[in-house]
Each structure stands twice: as C-alpha cells, then as structure tokens.
C-alpha cells in the first residue's frame, strides 16, 4: 500500500514537471493568389491553431498550465490560469495583426476531465485533479489591393468567355 502511494506521488510529480503545454501552430493555406474563402472576399493566407492545457485542483485552482506569455524561457507556469479564452485569443489576434490580416472561421474547442485512468497507479481522482484544454483556430485572410481585385474580376470574365470544346 505504501509503495503504491509512493509511486503515485512520484508519477504525479513527474506529470506536473512535464505537463502544461502551450502551442501555436500555423500552416499556409493551399490556395492560389486569386482564390478566396467562402463568405469573405479576401485571400486566405494561413490557418492557425492555438492550444493550451494544464492541471487544476477541483477544476478551479490552477496547479500548472502552459505559459502563454511570449519571450519567456519558462514553458510552464505554476498557480496561474493561462488556459483562458482571452489569453489565447489575444495571442491569435496579435499574430493576425502582425501579418496584416483579419480572422475568419474563428472556432473554439474546450475539454475538461477529472479522470486519469490512462495514467498508471493514478486512475480516477474523484473530482480532485482535473485536466483542462482549450483550442482556438482561425483562418487569417489578407485583403488584396484594389488592383489585384480588379485583375481577379477581369480573369473571371476571361475564363467565362473561353468557349468550351472537345479535342479534335
């Protein structure tokens, strides 16, 4: 019994040391220069997903979470709640502003669970220890200049005017 308790404590300590993680992933959109996003007249440039997770006591008191603050060495932070919509959205919109883009298709996903059955010797925690995760994603849209917009309209007209025909 004492051994199990001891190993559980070691495992929890290791879990806390390495858990809590903030990530900011971007990927260029696979579109050509003249494509637009449905519902928006701009050019979709990048797709971004921002994620943070951490561990909480009774789903209220933050124990360890990923660090959302930029230009810091610490990847995790103790006793500070960084798994919040405001903080993640702040980072996303700052990046969008830096790129000179606006946000489209902004969606939020949240997950919280108090069960740790995947962690050996820990099992359930009966509502004491909680894992929380928040993700926010968006497509960054660049508004092209009026010149490019005119060019796009002219190209559309040109493409429509080409007669359709089979091979000879």
């Amino acid at each position: 019994m004492f051994k199990i308790a001891k190993y559980t404590l070691y495992l929890l300590t290791i879990t806390f040391l390495f858990s809590g993680c903030y990530s900011f992933d971007t990927s260029p959109m696979p579109v050509s220069e003249y494509d637009t996003l449905a519902g928006d007249n701009g050019l979709p440039k990048e797709h971004v997903i921002v994620e943070n997770y951490g561990w909480y006591l009774f789903n209220v008191i933050p124990l360890v979470t990923g660090n959302v603050r930029e230009k810091t060495r610490e990847s995790i932070v103790f006793f500070r709640d960084d798994v919040t919509l405001s903080k993640l959205q702040n980072n996303l919109t700052k990046y969008a502003k830096q790129k000179g883009c606006r946000c489209a298709d902004l969606t939020v996903d949240y997950n919280a669970t108090c069960m740790l059955s995947m962690v050996p010797y820990v099992g359930t925690t009966f509502g004491i220890l909680w894992y929380k995760e928040l993700q926010i994603s968006s497509t960054l849209v660049y508004q092209p200049s009026k010149e490019k917009q005119t060019m796009k309209q002219e190209m559309d007209v040109l493409l429509k005017s080409i007669p359709q025909g089979g091979s000879r």
């Binding site: 009774f58 919040t84 959205q89 502003k97 606006r102 939020v108 669970t113 069960m115 509502g127 926010i136």
Partner: protein, 133 residues
Amino acid sequence: MMKYKKIISAFLMLAFVTGCMTTRTSSVYNDVKMEDGENPLCTIQIENTGWFLFDVIPLVCGDPRFPNDWSCRFFTNTITLENNLKVLEKEMDKYKTTRIANVNSLNKDNFYFCFLLFRRACLTSAVLLEEKK
C-alpha cells in the same frame, strides 16, 4: 475525525458529480477584424455538462437558466443544443446585437467505471458582430 472524513468525502463526491453550465467570453481582438471586415464584439463559448447513468438516466446536469452560477438540475436532461442556443440568444441580447458568425457546436461523451457513469458535454462557440450602421 470520522465525521470530518465523511463531510470531506461527501463534498468530493458532490464536486465529482455536479453538472455545470458555463459561458466563456473574450473581447480581446487587438483591432483585428473578422471576415469581410466585420467588427467583432465578443467570442463566446457555451458549455453544458452533466452526468448520466448508463448514458440514459440523467443524474445531474447544468441549469441553463443560471449560467456560471454553479447551479444544477437533478434527474433532468438539459444537455441539449436548444438550451445552448437559448443561452447564446441571451448573450446576444446582453451585447445588443443580432449579428453572429462562425457558430460551431460539439458533443462530447466520456464513460467511466465500465460504462456505468457517463459525462456528457455540449459545447457551442460563436463570434458576435457589431450591428451594421
């Protein structure tokens, strides 16, 4: 000592089994606009969670009439999309807008103790937009 242990255990079990209706909002945009140059007012995420026996019998669920209040309803299934959208409507009234974008909903189910206990969650997110002048 035994009395305190019982109180603490009861409290822990209660914390473990309560359902909850929560809304999370953020108005931080750093002057960044939404699609088609729309001005956003607020990003909102609504979550309603509850516990079910065998995924059929509702034990305790969040109360959509009082979001963020730690109030819950016993033996009533309130984990529905309709309830989430009613709360969304109330938030739109609070922000005095009728315009909305990027509405997205998800259902999440987790089971525990060999399918005996189920935790259900219904999440809805959206961006509220300023009224056009």
